[in-house]
């Protein structure tokens, strides 16, 4: 006999609200005149705000829902806010972008909202089947979003590549779930950790399952060697979508990784440790070295996001409450700086994303000091410059790694962050130290974009200068996971 309590619904209230708004935006789309499509964007933003409010209600009623498949705990609520922040910034940054690129369709906003629903479910699920459903919901939305500039060949190619390789990778994940179910007879994470208590239970099959599930997630995290799609897709997808892609699914996959490797598979211990160690090391090195010679800013940021996934993996490998909270903190910092950077790139690129080479930013600082300063903040934060969020993110992750005696990995990460400065500086150099008239300087930034950028910049400095509150929150959010 199935019973449904109000509490169950309250615990997925943010997802419900987002879905309603998503569907509503989609259904209204054909009824709204072409000139009024902007309104749908604002409606989607309203949905994000409504969901944020609903999350407050959820946080008053923590606990498991739907027979233990969903957990409304500090961890999931932290991630839901992270996704809502990302979605909100992306929507703010998209409205005028779509207008300029003649792609103002309501579906865009609906897909962003529905994709966010999928990510929220990924972070909140404590059951492998639910995690898979969340993964699929978010994936399918993002596949479509990647090809949203339908007339553009790069965008089409990005969508197709992302779709095919993504399905390929999720198949691995599903295969891993099948193995796990075969071994333990359950798909529930709590049940899993109860069945796999002893390191001796990590038989061949269990390890195969672990590797398969890791591969499925690693695709979304774009860690080496599952990063191959990242540069092409990030470059081809419309820049605001790239902003969404590079943060949302990645953060959601990290949420699952944490729940899985430090929760359900906690007993794997050394078995899972080395997989994380090696992935982190390879990912950082490849991301940073390959970024050195990029001339396309979107592609450069794609490699940079690969490198950042490597840094975050260092925190996962460090584990413990310190490592988890460092990862959570880093993700927020990463969200702010990456979304900010991509939104800026989206708007400076002009109609049809023509101006995306580093040379296109030549001398920007002399024409548009404010714009250049903003972009410089994003890049300096990505490079890990003190007083910015990026620095503290790295600081906490590396500190956690040192605490867990991962000295080698930390040294490698530090060396990598030295290398990374070089390519982030190339853009700063172009803006501040070269003379030239750039077309990018003539681009108007409408107020919604300005708002999104201001939120990102202020957020970066807030996290960098007074991180007391966010840090406390990330520590709190790390509590539900076992130590």
């Amino acid at each position: 006999m199935i019973t449904l309590q109000t509490a169950d619904l309250v615990r997925i209230l943010p997802e419900i609200v987002l879905s309603i708004f998503g569907i509503l935006v989609m259904v209204l789309e054909p009824f709204v005149a072409a000139a009024q499509k902007k309104l749908l964007g604002w409606m989607a933003l309203l949905g994000v705000l409504a969901a944020a409010t609903a999350t407050v209600r959820t946080s008053f009623e923590p606990g498991l829902a739907f027979g233990g498949t969903i957990a409304a705990d500090e961890f999931s609520i932290y991630f839901i806010y992270l996704f809502l922040l990302t979605a909100g910034l992306v929507i703010l940054g998209s409205i005028d972008y779509l207008e300029r690129n003649h792609a103002q369709h309501g579906e865009f906003y609906a897909l962003v909202l529905l994709g966010t629903v999928g990510m929220c479910f990924m972070a909140a699920s404590t059951d492998l089947i639910m995690i898979f459903l969340g993964l699929e919901i978010s994936s399918i939305s993002t596949y479509i979003l990647a090809g949203f500039r339908r007339a553009d060949r790069l965008s089409n190619e990005a969508a197709l590549k992302y779709f095919l390789l993504g399905s390929f990778a999720t198949a691995f994940f599903l295969y891993g779930i099948a193995f796990v179910y075969g071994l333990t007879g359950t798909t529930n994470l709590l049940g899993l950790s109860a069945r796999l208590m002893e390191p001796s239970q990590w038989t061949t099959f269990a390890r195969v399952a672990l590797v398969l599930m890791f591969v499925g997630l690693a695709f979304k995290l774009s860690t080496v060697p599952f990063q191959v799609w990242t540069p092409d897709v990030y470059q081809g997808a419309p820049a605001p979508v790239t902003a969404f892609l590079s943060v949302g699914p990645k953060a959601a996959a990290f949420a699952v990784l944490l729940r899985l490797f430090l929760g359900g598979f906690a007993s794997a211990g050394t078995v899972s440790f080395w997989i994380l160690w090696i992935s982190a090391a390879l990912t950082m090195c490849l991301g940073n070295l390959a970024a050195l010679w990029q001339t396309n800013v979107k592609r450069l940021l794609a490699y940079s996001s690969i490198a950042h996934a490597g840094y975050i993996l260092v925190g996962v490998a460090a584990g413990g409450s310190r490592g988890i909270s460092a990862v959570l903190f880093y993700l927020v910092a990463y969200a702010l700086m990456n979304v900010g950077a991509f939104i800026m790139v989206a708007h400076l690129s002009g109609t049809g994303e023509r101006l995306v080479q580093i040379e296109d930013y030549t001398g920007l600082a002399f024409e548009r000091p404010g714009v250049a300063a903003c972009l410089a903040v994003f890049f300096l934060s990505l490079a890990g410059f003190p007083t910015t969020a990026g620095f503290l993110g790295k600081f906490y992750v590396f500190r956690a790694a040192i605490h867990s005696h991962l000295i080698g990995l930390t040294v490698l990460a530090l060396l990598n962050s030295v290398v990374s400065v070089y390519y982030y500086l190339r853009i700063v150099v172009a803006m501040y130290m070269r003379e030239g008239k750039t077309e990018a300087a003539t681009v108007e930034l409408p107020w919604p974009v300005r708002t999104a950028l201001a939120v990102s910049v202020l957020g970066i400095f807030y996290l960098g200068l007074a991180p007391k509150l966010p840090l406390g929150l990330s520590t709190l959010a790390a509590l539900p996971l076992p130590k």
Binding site: F168, V211, F226, V228, P231, D232, Y303, R399, L414, Y422
Partner: protein, 679 residues
């Protein structure tokens, strides 16, 4: 007025200036820009003076230490230290004023202010006037945060801040490619040091559970750690690598000579008087740790001495007036580390202070010369300027005498203190001392070479330039005179006991440096100390007469010697080919690796490489690689290996979906095999 309670105003005033310049500067007139950007650091200097005198009047039992905490920056929660005790790491935004930081503060604000004044005249005709002052103010802010911080993390904030502003200022003449390259080089080399600093800091946080100076010093002096403790040694070495990056020590000194691409006031302020001494300050600040790590201390001393003589030898033959001074700075920084390395932190800081005066003066003087000669920097195109720009010449003479260690000038006292400590300290030895003495001789030689080539002899100035030679405006000469007074007199605060003084400066700094673990100095006779002093003066005199004979009396000799020395001379002239070596070993290898890994950028839409194109390119590539391998020899073997190794990656990274899928499958396979075999 209670200055100390508002000590945060000292860094905040300049940053206000920076904000105004960088946001509104374009709309301000040059006059308004100078009023704001010179006035605010001036105010900050006055405030610093106020703080200093209030600090002096604090009761002595407080060790003249004042801390002011503004707010809690990074609360990181409780955790267990390596030894099991519970700690709460909490980093504050706080300021600490003690004898050590007050010396730094006065040097930075005082010399900084004078250089700001000088810049009004020097930069008056340049474009981007407001930008220059904006960055300069930003630098002052960062530097003051660095020296006034009460914990390592905040110091690191300033540390990175000075790096960033120095990067902007080196690249100020951005239309010269060499300038922006130099800026980038400085930043990247510095970041190598910063990474080590950061690592050392984290180790410190794990070991001490705090990053504040006072508790760490207390813990280190409290006897919790044995002398020679492994972790402490590791921390100290990591911190020193950081210091070596910022203070241009072997092997990370290569950025400083290139940094001379920046405007001359920048060279004076950042690359001579203040920023580059940050490393010395950091080591001195961590003195309590270094005393526990004799190995690290020995390393500091050895690197310092080696850098001193290495850079001095390069400085002997350089022809660019600013480059001579740059190598001289590297060499003098080596002296300061030498002092720290023999446990004489006070002597190091003393030399830091006197050096700030005379080196800033030398650079500003050089700037004045360059200004007079309409931008000429080559010593071979100067000469006989003595009568034409007398103020510059006189002040330069004072500075040259000071740096050469002429008795009773500032450099004499500080350098001699270092040499004596290198000789007499239980951490020092005769080798370090003799390196120091030889360097003193070399210093006197190349400084007087510079002086004679510039001011004495016959004029080698091209005729059209010669007509425009003029003394600089008063905004430039007044700072020269002020610094000249400092270069002459700054040493008197540390008048040594051997000459009947009381070394007030040393006693003032004592509370910061006294340490029960510090091995006491050996007893030596007055005769010995005085004798050694005479000896070093004698060596300096030899250097002086050498320069006089070669460059003033018989100008032809130098060329003949150079010709006779042949390969040795070329080696020195080319700075031992270190830049080329680094390029070959590190820079180009990193670039190759990067470009190889990025090679799947071959094109996204046109996708893959078909077989024919591939094999053609492959063979072309191979033959090209073969050529370079044969021609360029050993270094390129490395490149060859890297490129060949990365070939599989290139083949896979084609932009083709199928190969991507294969790559993923391969990854799965490797992980699987790894797991099935190793567990």
């Amino acid at each position: 007025m209670h200055f100390l309670n508002y000590i945060w105003l000292i860094p905040v005033l300049p940053v206000l200036g920076a904000a105004i310049q960088l946001l509104l500067g374009r709309r301000l007139s040059n006059k308004a820009v100078s009023a704001v950007s010179v006035g605010l650091p001036g105010l900050s200097f006055l405030w610093a003076l106020g703080c200093f005198f209030q600090l002096l009047s604090l009761p002595a039992q407080a060790n003249h230490t004042f801390t002011k905490v503004l707010y809690s920056w990074l609360p990181a929660g409780a955790f267990h230290l390596a030894d099991g005790s519970l700690a709460h790491l909490n980093v504050y935004v706080g300021f600490q004023l003690d004898p050590l930081s007050s010396v730094m503060m006065l040097v930075v604000t005082g010399v900084g202010f004078l250089i700001h004044v000088y810049s009004i005249g020097y930069m008056g005709h340049e474009g981007g006037y407001y930008r220059f002052f904006g960055y300069l103010n930003l630098f002052m802010f960062s530097m003051l945060v660095l020296v006034l911080a009460d914990n390592y993390l905040m110091m690191f904030v300033g540390w990175e801040g000075v790096g960033l502003s120095s990067y902007f200022l080196i690249g100020f003449y951005f239309h010269r490619k060499s300038a922006s390259d130099a800026g980038k080089k400085a930043f990247v080399v510095n970041r190598i040091g910063d990474a080590a600093f950061l690592l050392g800091m984290m180790l410190m946080a794990v070991t001490f559970g705090t990053l504040d100076f006072l508790p760490i010093t207390e813990a280190a002096r409290g006897g919790r750690f044995a002398v020679g403790d492994g972790v402490i040694t590791a921390i100290c070495i990591l911190l020193f690598i950081g210091a070596a990056g910022k203070s241009a020590q072997i092997p990370l000194y290569v950025w400083l000579p290139d940094a001379m691409e920046g405007p001359t006031p920048v060279s004076a302020l950042i690359h001579a008087a203040t920023m580059v001494t940050a490393g010395v300050y950091m080591v001195a600040r961590s003195n309590a740790l270094y005393v526990l790590a004799p190995t690290a201390l020995a390393l500091v001393g050895a690197i310092g001495a080696a850098t001193a003589i290495w850079a001095a030898s390069i400085g002997l033959v350089q022809n660019d007036i600013k480059r001579v001074l740059a190598y001289s700075t590297v060499s003098q920084l080596g002296y300061m580390f030498l002092a720290c390395g023999v446990g004489a932190f006070g002597a190091g800081i003393f030399h830091l202070m006197t050096h700030a005066f005379f080196k800033a003066l030398l650079f500003l003087g050089a700037g004045s010369v360059i200004h007079a000669l309409s931008g000429e920097q080559d010593l071979r195109k100067m000469g006989a300027l003595w009568r034409k720009i007398p103020t510059t010449a006189w002040t330069m003479l004072a500075a040259t005498l000071a740096i050469s260690g002429a008795p009773l000038l500032s450099g004499f006292f500080s350098k001699d203190e270092i040499l004596w400590q290198a000789f007499a300290s239980p951490y020092g030895n005769k080798l370090l001392w003799s390196v120091g003495v030889v360097t003193a001789g070399l210093t006197a030689f190349y400084m007087f070479r510079l002086f004679f080539l510039t001011f004495a002899g016959n004029s080698r100035v091209p005729h059209e330039v010669e007509q425009h030679i003029h003394e600089s405006p008063s905004s430039m000469t007044v700072p020269l005179i002020c610094l000249g007074l400092g270069a002459v007199g700054a040493g008197y605060v540390g008048w040594p006991k051997v000459l009947g003084g009381s070394n007030w400066f040393g006693r003032f700094l004592d509370p910061v440096f006294e340490n029960p673990a510090l091995r006491p100095a050996l007893q030596h006779t007055w005769n010995l100390e005085f004798g050694l002093m005479l000896l070093s003066v004698g060596v300096a005199l030899v250097g002086f007469f050498g320069a006089y004979r070669w460059y003033a009396k018989q100008p032809g000799i130098a060329e003949r010697v150079a010709a006779a020395a042949g390969a040795g001379y070329t080696l020195l002239l080319n700075k031992y080919y270190i830049d080329e070596l680094y390029d070959a070993l590190f820079v180009n290898r990193a670039k190759d690796l990067g470009s190889a890994l990025a090679a799947f950028d071959l094109g996204v839409v046109d996708g893959g490489v078909n077989g024919v194109g591939w094999s053609t390119r492959m063979s072309a590539e191979l033959s090209r690689l073969w050529d370079t391998w044969v021609i360029d020899g050993l270094v390129n073997v490395l490149a060859f290996v890297v490129k060949v190794l990365s070939y599989p990656a290139r083949v896979l990274q084609t932009g083709l979906l199928q190969s991507y899928a294969w790559f993923i499958t391969l990854g799965v396979f490797i992980f699987m095999v790894y797991y099935l075999i190793y567990f």
